[in-house]
Subunit: 337 residues, 2 copies
DNA sequence: AAGGGGATTGAGAGCGCTCTCAAAACGCAC
DNA sequence: GTGCGTTTTGAGAGCGCTCTCAATCCCCTT
């Protein structure tokens, strides 16, 4: 019997059992090639026998890496985190990609505005190798602060101001334009829109797409603004109906709001799509279950997450990455338009 | 000018600037009382001036703590992660509580069954101080393996077999019984149920509650089984209608399935609640937006998350904790019943 | 058989922090 | 002033791992 010291086995323990030095065990554990097959096998056996697992803290201390990537969800996004399928979807994509790369996912749900300080502290303390930022509102100072600390940052969504850091986004305007053109092409004569918050690029760009599509026509834009929630969609739809009872189509900047809008339309006695055509944006699960089912602009949610992770990892590995990656959207036809 | 060494400041740097020893700086940073006010102030100033942030890896190496808690979402749960409000809701609760305790949240989304090994590795490597397990299916070997490694584990949901580890759950059966009793009391004469998966305690217990409520009556149980998704709720409802066209009420084991059931009822031309009363379970956001709005059994989702975190932290701190914590549920009356 | 060169291996120096233990400093009673 | 009991402070030993650098092997070549 080996007299194994008590407690978790360390490199030293393994080395002793295998009759080699710590350095050699380290080489085997980290897959270095410069180890003779026989020795490698003996070490591997010792590792297995002892159930050795490297201590990540010790490793980080010397490598200066942690193999951890933070996913930061700022306050406003946290609020809708469990009501919306978007962030969980992105998060899942990020998780998938990180798992594939054997990195860990640290989730920072900033439930209070004060969490900013906490986030910076983590990053400053080199707790993480990189940061994925979800959902930036307005002129968030966070990305700049992070960049200043020299940590790779990739954001979901183009920032409002000048982009001083890489981001992934989808072609909001293009997708919306296609959707509104589709409505025009089907003969809709009075197309309104329920826009998203105008302090978020997603809100702004989708509205811009709507305006762009209408620009070449004789239709005047008709806009109500919501905040991406169902309630706001309902309220906005009612307002639009009141303002323009004759509208026969509406592009809604999110599926959740579209669901609310459908409800308001139903309550107002309008038939969809006969009286009013509705097109949403996102293509989250609910779109397949509204009544009627929702025609919508699909954005590749999980793919956004995967790309975010991939870019931040590449950046952390010292690679240069594209300052922006814009993923395509796609009009998905269902019953509502 | 101080000649500050380049790179991140360490304890040493701070110590030199403040003219004290490393130990003293450590004491100040960690809030030990045994430091003279004057010295403490000088050290604090140096810390501020240098922007010193402790290196968590170095700290973990000696303290044997990481201040990280893992939230593990097994494969099946990951699949529904972005379509359901339950797990994101629990996760949010966990995040809140951990933030308050200044702990970090490591998210392990097990996208493949093979991730088990990965999870164990993290835990074994002492990457985390504790583990919160969400959604255990059947006889999952994971908690036992984790316990064996001596890591505090707290599960969301009572395990199927004998509970060898602490868990938090809600009073499924009690809540359902109350709901079905309510239906009985309102004169419903043929009450069916759409149950959840029978390899999950939530599925089993809710069905048991239904049976229990019917036990004292002359009604025979009428059961269809779903898997907590909307689709399965729709399918199950159709099956029930076919089997028993005369049913006048249905308790559905999740809001998402209830939403599907409502749709199936509408398509079958049944009015809710006039022809058929519907009660769901969960009280997620969608319950307030179905048509008609959904009467449902509320479970305190975020609170479950908070309790999970609290218990695992207490356990990690060496405290003894309750082997089980059962939170109450509550019938929320809306339009559907 | 000797010499050279690449392949393997091991010794040892940290990485930045905590914590024990002993020394130094201080306060106070006498 | 002396002595004793507290505080307060500092020195130094690791925590477990990686990585450089030098030593040792081995295998050819001549």
């Amino acid at each position: 019997m080996q007299d194994t010291p008590p407690g978790r086995p360390t490199l030293e323990t393994v080395a002793r059992l295998a009759g080699v030095s710590r350095a050699t065990v380290s080489r085997v554990v980290n897959g270095s090639t410069a180890v003779k097959p026989g020795v490698r096998e003996a070490v591997a056996r010792a590792v297995r026998e002892l159930g050795y697992v490297p201590n990540p803290a010790a490793r980080s201390l010397v490598t200066q890496r942690t193999d951890v990537v933070a996913f930061v969800l700022p306050e406003p996004a946290t609020r809708v985190f469990s009501d919306d399928a978007f962030f969980p979807g992105v998060l899942r994509g990020v998780g998938e990609e990180l798992e594939a790369a054997d990195k860990q996912l640290l989730l920072l749900l900033a439930s209070a505005p004060s969490s900013h300080e906490r986030i910076l502290r983590y990053v400053h303390g080199r707790t993480v190798d990189g940061v994925v930022l979800a959902s930036l509102h307005g002129a968030d100072p966070l990305p700049a602060s992070l960049e200043a600390l020299g940590v790779p940052v990739v954001a979901s969504g183009r920032p409002l101001g000048p982009a001083t850091f890489p981001y992934i986004d989808v072609d909001h305007a293009g997708g919306v334009e296609a959707a509104v053109r589709y409505l025009l092409q089907r003969g809709r004569a009075r197309i309104a829109t329920i826009a998203g918050p105008q302090d978020m690029v997603a809100g702004i760009d989708r509205l811009a797409g709507y305006r762009a599509a209408l620009a070449g026509t004789d239709q005047e834009p008709l806009v109500a603004v919501g905040d991406f929630t169902r309630e706001s969609g309902m309220v906005a739809m009612r307002r639009l109906l009141q303002e323009e009872p004759g509208l026969d189509a509406v592009f809604v900047a999110s599926d959740l709001m579209a669901d609310g809008a459908l409800r308001a339309l139903r309550q107002a006695g309008r038939r969809v799509p006969d009286d009013v055509a509705v097109i949403g944006f996102d293509d989250v699960e609910i779109a397949r279950f509204t009544e009627p089912t929702l025609t919508t602009v699909r954005q590749p949610i999980a793919e956004i997450g995967r790309r975010l992770a991939r870019q931040v990892l590449r950046r952390a590995a010292g690679e240069d990455i594209e300052p922006a990656l814009v993923l395509p959207t796609e009009l998905v036809l269902r019953e509502s338009a």
